[in-house]
């Protein structure tokens, strides 16, 4: 496949490396001649020196076809312009990196549609999602995110005191975006129907938006709802902002330590419910004064890896229960990962890596991608793209004869993700996330991808 990448920064470089290694034809567009020559030396890619927002440069890059266009500079405006141009110049799929949350807000104008973008990626957002995953859910429940965090899967054990116990699914008033995907009762495992009655001890897997799932869980397993979760974030970076957004629920008490006073003030205006501390997070006295020892989660999110790691170690020594940190520099990744347990750092996430993984997954040619498999169970969650010549394209879910054990839990139409109802249509090029048994995967793949 022919891939054009604009911007040879940390993300762009890593992507060009991964994609060219996977055997794709990669063209990199970069303004800075020094960086351009660096990437020219390092990787087997074509490098074009020039601006990503210039039509002339892009025309040259796209001239002999472009299957995927990736705008990966750190500037949103350049990304948007180059995506818009690439769409006009004939790129087939267009992916953009976006920092500013303004552009993901579609209430006034649909930015992705307006600029002809198929997928928007926010490295810091993806990174924050990794952190939020464990903060939002106590460890003993398996959780997985799909569709960039907009849909979450949770396994919930129905409690004896659950309000919904003994009710058939038909009688439970569910939020329209919530789906029961799978249930397990003793040895019996199945995909539930409308008549399935919930009993204590059942393990159900539910899909839906995180907030709605949280509400459902209070009804199914009131036990597992933790009390107040105290989160301390070191550094008011973009990742921190994305994390604060994800933790927008009164049960999270978030405290951010940031050195720059202006930044503190600006952030405090945006997030009045969060406490901002203006000070140096590396100072032991400050950490003690702010009672880091009582925090449930400590997340180091600055752009300085050394500070991140040192402060994380300090925090876990002071008694923070779970410590997470961002790694920005590629060179540190491996050694830090190996020393994870020695350093007492629970989660390490690199924004660059999660972005590249997301793109690679999107570009992959596999008939299906296995997203998640439940331990010791036959159920699998897979993501399948509907091919252009599929016989299912243009039909509603109700009209398609699905195998018995299959539930469509998410429908990804371009940048839009939803939990579909029976009357939602599947279009060619959409991706569906299906929960099914291992033996049915082939059948479903065939159904969605054969003419």
């Amino acid at each position: 496949m022919k891939v054009v990448i604009v911007g040879a920064g940390e993300v762009g470089r890593h992507l060009s490396h991964v994609l060219s290694d996977a055997g794709h034809d990669v063209t990199v567009v970069e303004t800075d001649p020094e960086r351009a020559s660096l990437i020219d030396e390092e990787h087997n890619v074509r490098v074009i020196s020039g601006s990503g927002s210039s039509a002339e440069t892009l025309k040259q890059a796209i001239a002999d076809g472009c299957d995927h266009f990736l705008a990966m500079t750190s500037q949103d405006e350049i990304n948007l312009i180059s995506c818009s141009l690439a769409r006009v110049l004939g790129a087939k799929t267009v992916i953009s990196r976006i920092h500013d949350q303004t552009f993901t807000d579609t209430s006034h104008i649909n930015y992705p549609l307006h600029f002809g973008i198929d997928m928007m990626l926010n490295p810091e957002g993806l990174c924050a999602l990794e952190f939020a995953k464990s903060i939002r859910n106590p460890a003993r429940i398996a959780v997985e995110n799909f569709a960039r965090g907009q849909i979450e899967a949770q396994r919930i054990i129905v409690d004896e005191r659950a309000r919904l116990r003994g009710k058939a699914l038909r009688d439970i008033k569910l939020h329209p975006e919530i789906k029961f995907g799978f249930y397990q009762r003793g040895e019996e495992q199945d995909i539930p129907g409308a008549d399935t009655v919930l009993e204590a001890g059942d393990v159900v897997t539910v899909f839906g938006p995180p907030h709605e799932l949280y509400k459902l869980r209070t009804n199914l397993d009131p036990h597992s709802i933790g009390t107040l979760v105290r989160v301390v974030i070191f550094g008011g970076s973009e990742t921190a902002v994305a994390l604060i957004r994800l933790l927008n629920n009164p049960r999270f008490k978030v405290r951010v330590i940031e050195k720059n006073e202006d930044k503190c003030r600006r952030l405090a205006e945006r997030f009045p419910h969060v406490t901002f501390i203006n000070g140096d997070g590396t100072s032991l006295r400050l950490l003690e004064e702010e009672q880091i020892g009582n925090a449930d989660y400590f997340v180091a999110s600055t752009s300085d890896d050394e500070r991140n790691v040192m402060t994380s170690m300090q925090a876990s020594k002071l008694g923070a229960k779970h410590v997470q940190t961002v790694i920005n520099k590629t060179d540190y990744e491996e050694i830090l990962y190996n020393m994870r347990s020695a350093l007492d750092i629970e989660t390490m996430v690199s924004p660059r890596l999660v972005t590249a993984n997301e793109v690679v997954r999107y570009l992959s040619k596999d008939p299906y991608i296995e997203l998640f498999s439940f331990p010791k169970q036959a159920a699998r969650i897979v993501e399948i793209q509907v091919s252009l010549d599929s016989s299912c394209a243009g039909r509603t879910l109700r009209e398609i004869s699905w195998p018995k054990h299959a539930v469509v839990v998410a429908l990804l139409h371009k940048f839009h993700v939803k939990v579909p109802g029976a009357d939602d249509r599947i279009l060619a090029g959409d991706r569906v996330i299906v929960i099914t048994r291992e033996e049915n995967i082939k059948e479903i793949t065939h159904l969605l991808q054969a003419g």
Binding site: C264, R265, E269, I277, G279
Partner: protein, 491 residues
């Protein structure tokens, strides 16, 4: 200091007064009682001529020179303009009423223009109707602001219009949310006139005659408080009218900018207005508390319904700084006096015609205090202060806190001076005189209670109180800067 523009704008202010005199002159001709026509016509003719000549003279003085209006000139215009207008407005009283002294006339005129509603006159029923009209009309003009009226018309003011507007009104020019301040002010004027018409018709329906309707409309919407009867609204003995007045007074104390939003169906700004919510909650809270104390009072003779109405009327009248009375609250339990005094100090919303410290300043002061208390043990924490859905910068917070400090000092110093001027006045009387004048309310307690008036005070006290009224109406700064020598110097 650019004196040319100062004179030119003064000429506009005095000109506006002259126009008002002309209207009153017309009414004197047509509508006054036989016995008073002659003196009223003569009085207003002379007043009109004097005002017109002064306006023309100022216009000539200000003819040369450029039209640029800086902050300095704008402040000086407002400060001197209000003093000049009050002096000019005293003329009809001096000329028409036989035994009135100059301080009394000045007091009455300032009390009118600043929408205070404190009076030195008794036997109001004997006044010529044209003079009633002037009393009420001066409040109506002063309610929105004498200068505001011509800010909308004079296009040469440029950016200076913003300063003029925000110094005279308690709202900020930025809140108008229009690209030209003139068009925003024009909207305000239209709203004011529209409300006036609706209000007049309502009063007429409630049973007043047209003349009384118009007079009371003038003094309700401007939260002024002059009435045509010595016993104020109580004399009408009309519960329906009282409820209507409660409604219109409350509207007068509401931010007019929000009213414009309401008419434009922009509910978002109304929903996010913490000031509006607090204002109405306070009105309801004070009414509730006073109703309880009224019913609990052993000497009370009112039924529950009457008690609620009386309490609501007094609370709304005092908190919006109108100053009408339907009951002699001086006879109520002392605790109600403290509650009413609190309502006096708080006042209405910013951007309304009401006086007082303004609800929003109280909200900000409380929030700043709470944050400072937290800062004492947690110095590094950064918090923002949100009111009306917007963040206030440190600078804006400081301005508000400083305003409150200056206000406190003025109250302290003023009370001290009044007690020197009137050594025999009771404690309650002295304190409430201060509050009633500075916050543009009208009646106070004891010697200046709702059934009393300010005629018994010394002349110099009356002049001092008149200055206090203007000081309060202009929210201190526009008048205080006049005492700063650097304002007047060329360099």
């Amino acid at each position: 200091m650019n004196y040319a523009i100062l004179f030119k704008l003064q000429s506009a202010i005095i000109g506006a007064i002259a126009v008002a005199f002309a209207v009153c002159l017309g009414v004197a001709y047509v509508y006054d009682n036989q016995s008073t026509t002659d003196v009223a016509v003569a009085g207003f003719t002379v007043s009109f001529l004097v005002a017109a000549c002064v306006a023309a003279g100022l216009l000539v003085l200000g003819k040369t020179g450029d039209n640029t209006l800086f902050r300095k000139e704008a402040l000086a215009t407002i400060g001197t303009g209000w003093i000049a207008a009050s002096l000019m407005g005293a003329l009809p009283y001096l000329l028409i009423l036989p035994d009135i002294s100059f301080p009394e006339a000045f007091f009455e005129s300032a009390s009118g223009l600043t929408t205070t509603g404190a009076s030195v006159l008794s036997e109001l029923e004997n006044l010529p109707r044209s003079l009633h009209l002037w009393r009420a009309m001066s409040q109506w003009m002063g309610g929105l602001g004498v200068v505001v009226f011509f800010v909308a018309v004079l296009s040469f003011l440029g950016a200076g219009a913003k300063v003029l507007f925000s110094r005279e009104s308690s709202a900020q020019a930025a809140d108008l949310n229009t690209s030209r301040v003139q068009s925003g002010v024009l909207k305000l004027v239209k709203l004011y006139i529209g409300l006036s018409i609706i209000c007049t018709i309502t009063y007429k329906i409630c049973g007043l005659d047209w003349f009384d309707s118009i007079i009371h409309m003038f003094t309700t919407l401007s939260t002024g408080g002059f009435s045509t009867r010595s016993g104020s609204v109580a004399d009408f003995q009309n519960p329906l009218l009282e409820w209507a007045m409660i409604g219109y007074m409350a509207i007068g104390g509401t931010s007019f900018l929000l009213l414009i939003d309401a008419f434009g169906r922009r509910w978002k700004s109304i929903r996010s207005s913490s000031e509006l919510k607090t204002y109405y909650l306070l009105l309801i809270g004070f009414t509730f508390a006073i109703t309880i104390f009224l019913i609990g009072d052993p000497s009370n003779t009112l039924g529950a319904g009457d008690a609620i109405r009386t309490a609501a009327f007094q609370v709304v009248s005092i908190m919006t700084t109108t100053g009408y009375a339907t009951a002699d609250f001086d006879l109520w339990l002392p605790v109600t006096h403290i509650l009413l005094l609190a309502a006096m100090v708080i006042g209405g919303c910013s951007g309304s015609t009401a006086g007082g410290t303004k609800v929003i300043r109280f909200i900000v002061a409380l929030k700043v205090s709470a944050q400072q208390i937290e800062k004492a043990y947690r110095s590094r924490v950064v918090r923002t202060l949100k009111v009306n859905g917007k963040c206030l910068s440190i600078n804006e917070q400081e301005t508000i806190m400083v305003y409150i400090v200056i206000l406190m000092m003025v109250i302290f110093g003023g009370t001290l001076l009044i007690s020197f001027f009137e050594p025999s006045m009771s404690f309650e009387g002295t304190v409430s005189t201060m509050a009633a004048c500075l916050f543009n309310i009208g009646p106070g307690f004891a010697e200046v209670g709702p059934t009393q008036n300010f005629a018994g005070l010394h002349g110099y006290t009356q002049v001092f109180l008149s200055i206090l009224m203007i000081l309060g109406r202009l929210e201190l700064f526009a008048l205080l800067v006049l005492f700063s020598p650097a304002l007047w110097k060329r360099f």
